[in-house]
Structures are given as structure tokens and as C-alpha cells.
């Protein structure tokens, strides 16, 4: 049994993305050097939304890519093979500031895999990390640059980030383990 609890609704997700976009713009003065890379499932849609807000702030298009990390995971011999999503990086990352976008930051292993995967496409000048939810329980020395909401959780709680693009609704739900 678990009790679901909406911690961000559609309006709150929109506010969070707008704030993160402004923080990215504040941190990176030269918008022409910034590209976004979303991690499926979830991060790719969030990256697209952030890219849209950022292109309005900077009045120029912001390249957005999709970075699938499943071939770079460190637990491939301990689990069923994950579903692979297409990786689409239609720009050169070398010399750029790449902002990785993910829905939830948990152990940090996905982020590590993402940095590893990104190496195959070039050598970014900087890599930054934007997440909607930071739920703690890091297993690696990784920290997000831009966080939508910090949510204290127990290790076996579940965070569901539902997005219109995948689930028809925008909400973040915390399911407490009993």
C-alpha cells in the first residue's frame, strides 16, 4: 500500500521550468554557447520545454537534443535490459555548455552515465545539470546546478513525474512506501 501525494501540479511545474530557465540564463551569459540534452523518459520533454522558454529569453533558438543513457548504465549485468530510446544530438557539443535535463535526481548514476554518453559526441566546455526533483540518496559525488524542488524521501518511496507528452497530464506525485 502507498499513499499518492501530488507535490507539483501543472501550474507549479510550469513555474519551476520558468525559474530554471532564468537561472540557466543568469549563469550562462552567452546563450549562443548553451545547448540542452534531455534524458528519456521525461527529461527529453522537459528539455524541449526549457529550450522554448530559453529561446524566448535569449531571442535566439536553443538547440535541444535527446541523450539516451541505457548503453552506459553501470548495472546492465544486474537487471533486465532497459528499453533503449533514440539518441539525437543534432549539433556539435565540443566547446559548448551542455545542460543535462532530467526529471528526478536520485542515486546520480543516470547522470554519471549521461556524462559518459556525452563524451562520445565531443568535449563540452561545461556540463551542467537541471532537474525538476532532487530526492536525495546520492550514491555518487554529483550535485544538480538547477533544482525545481528538493523533496526529502525514503529510499523506497517512489516519485512519478507525469508529463502531458507521455501521460496526458502534468504532475509530480510522491508515493510513500508504507
Amino acid at each position: 500500500m502507498s499513499s499518492p501525494n501530488v507535490i507539483l501540479d501543472a501550474a507549479a511545474i510550469q513555474r519551476v521550468l520558468t525559474r530554471i530557465a532564468h537561472e540557466i540564463a543568469e549563469r550562462n551569459e552567452n546563450g549562443a554557447e548553451v545547448v540542452l540534452a534531455g534524458i528519456p523518459v521525461g527529461g527529453d520533454h522537459l528539455a524541449r520545454r526549457l529550450g522554448k522558454i530559453l529561446s524566448e529569453i535569449w531571442s535566439q533558438p536553443v538547440p535541444v537534443g535527446i541523450l539516451d543513457v541505457s548503453m552506459h548504465r553501470d548495472d546492465l549485468d544486474q537487471r533486465a535490459a532497459p528499453k533503449i530510446h533514440p539518441t539525437v544530438i543534432p549539433f556539435d557539443v565540443t566547446g559548448k555548455t551542455v545542460v543535462l535535463v532530467d526529471d528526478v535526481l536520485f542515486s546520480g548514476r543516470t547522470t554519471r552515465a549521461a556524462m559518459d554518453a556525452l563524451n562520445d559526441f565531443g568535449r563540452p566546455k561545461n556540463i551542467q545539470l537541471a532537474v525538476v526533483i532532487d530526492r536525495g540518496h546520492r550514491e555518487l559525488p554529483i550535485k544538480a546546478d538547477f533544482v525545481g524542488k528538493n523533496v526529502p524521501t525514503a529510499g523506497n518511496d517512489k516519485i512519478r513525474v507525469r508529463l502531458v507528452e507521455n501521460d496526458g497530464v502534468d504532475e509530480v506525485v510522491l508515493e510513500r512506501a508504507e
Binding site: H72, D77, A81, P86, F106, I159
Partner: protein, 314 residues
Amino acid sequence: MTWARKHLLDIESLTPDEIVTVLDTARAFKAVGERAIKKVPALRGRTVINLFVEPSTRTRISFELAEQRLSADVINFSAEASSFKKGETLKDTARNLEALNADFIVIRHSASGAPHFLARVLDVHVINAGDGAHEHPTQALLDVFTIREHKGRIAGLNITILGDVLYSRVARSNIWALMKLGAAVTVCGPATLVPKTFEQMGCRVTYDVDEAIRNADIINLLRIQHERQRKTMFPSINEYIQLFGLNKARLAKAKPDALIMHPGPINRGVEIDSDIADSGRSLVLEQVTNGLAVRMAVLFLVNGGKGPQEVAEN
């Protein structure tokens, strides 16, 4: 996403969902092959032994490259230079390889069922790279992948398999895969090489080549396998060329968008005329490229196959 298998032994036992999972996964691996850096660390630290008891060049090279692109450590073991010559049994050879802590064995063997036997007696992942006249699952998967790329679907297509069907593991695996995904399959060739028993697999058997290719969306040509024929199954090569060889005149009677496949190696001028083999309607070289992606996908999926598990989050 449905894949919980530890081995890939045949197509016959796969579900349509499992076949589609391989095809979808292969698409992502094909994209990896188009990058500047074509290697991913998915099988880093894992050891693959390519146990090719029957000679093979292209399948072995394809598997070897697929393994290297997944960052596995690769050992090639071929019949000519091996202990089989000294009388060691397959089981003993395989046990010795397992004792080296191998994680995967990719096996090509002239005896049908050899991969299934290894899967029973060993604790490693076993992938069938062709067993006798039984099955050649990765060839069928790459063929289906190639057809789907060009036609967008498999269901409802007419596929004709033409040539030496009797001795062909490629034909058997293809028939299983295509039928499971809803294609209509016709097999055609000399009566001695295309027994009526293939009708039991659900496909149509005909000995009239013009009729066989008239409505075909794909014509998959099979090589005449001289090495597997213990006796002559048709009077002469010349007669085969006359009656069953694919030439321009014959192809003109097929649908204008019918495409031609061949698992290789091609006998130019026998199964297929040179100018057709080199034409834009031939998918032969794409099959080779796709074979690499499909084999990477199979290795990747099988590596995780220990039964369904909760997927770790984030």
C-alpha cells in the same frame, strides 16, 4: 519491452513481441554505428567466445565487430585450429571455455540443436549463429529489420523465398519470423530442394518462379549450398539458372517496388544476375550493415536476460 531470455537459440520459440523488441533495440544500435565514436560500454568487462565449429566469414566478422562495439572482450575459436581435431567433444570444449569465466558463447555448428545443447549444460548466455539446417536466428532478425526499414511494416507483405530452401537454416528462421509478424510467405525452387512439408510451417509452396515473384514485395534469394548437398539435387547449374535464376526479364514481371535480398555469399550469375545484384533494388549491403546492429541488440538484450526484474529508477 518484453525480453527476459537468457539465450537466443531460435526464432521458433520467440513471441512476436520479443521479435519487435529486438528490432526496436537494433534501431538504436544502428544509430550508434553512424556516430564518430561507434563504441558503447554496455558489455565492458564481459567475455564473449565465438565458437565457430563450422566455417563462417561474414557472420563471424559481424558478431566479432558487434561484440567489440559493445566493449566486450572477444575470443575467436574456430574448428580448423581447435581441439575438435584432436577428438574433444563439444561439451568438453564448451566446459573448458566456461571455465575461463566466459559470459557468452556465440556458436555456429553443423549439427542442428548444438546451441540448445550448450544452453542446457552450461551456465553462460548462448547465441545461435547457425546450427545445421535448423535455424539462423540473427540472419532472420536482420532480414526482418531490413524489410521493416524499407516497407514500414511486416504484416500483410508478400515475401518470396527462392532457392535452396531444404538445406537452409536462413529460410527456416525467416519463415518463423515473417509468419509471426503477419507476412504471407511463399517458398519456391526446384522440387527436390523445396519439399511440400514447408506448407506445415504455414507458407505457400510453388515451383513456378514467375508466379512466385509476381506479387512479391520482397524476393529473398538463397544460395545453392553445394557443400550441404550429399547428392545432386538438380541436373545442372545451367538448368537451375534457366529455371530459377533471377534475371532482368524475370524481374520485369515482378512488382516495380519489389526489393531483392540475399544473405550472402552471392553466386553471381547463378541465383542472381550481376546487374540486379548491383542495382538499387538490391538490399544485400544494407543487410550487412543491419546485421551488425541486430547482433549488438541481441547481445545487449540477452545480457540482461535473467527473468523480469523491477527496473531501477533514476
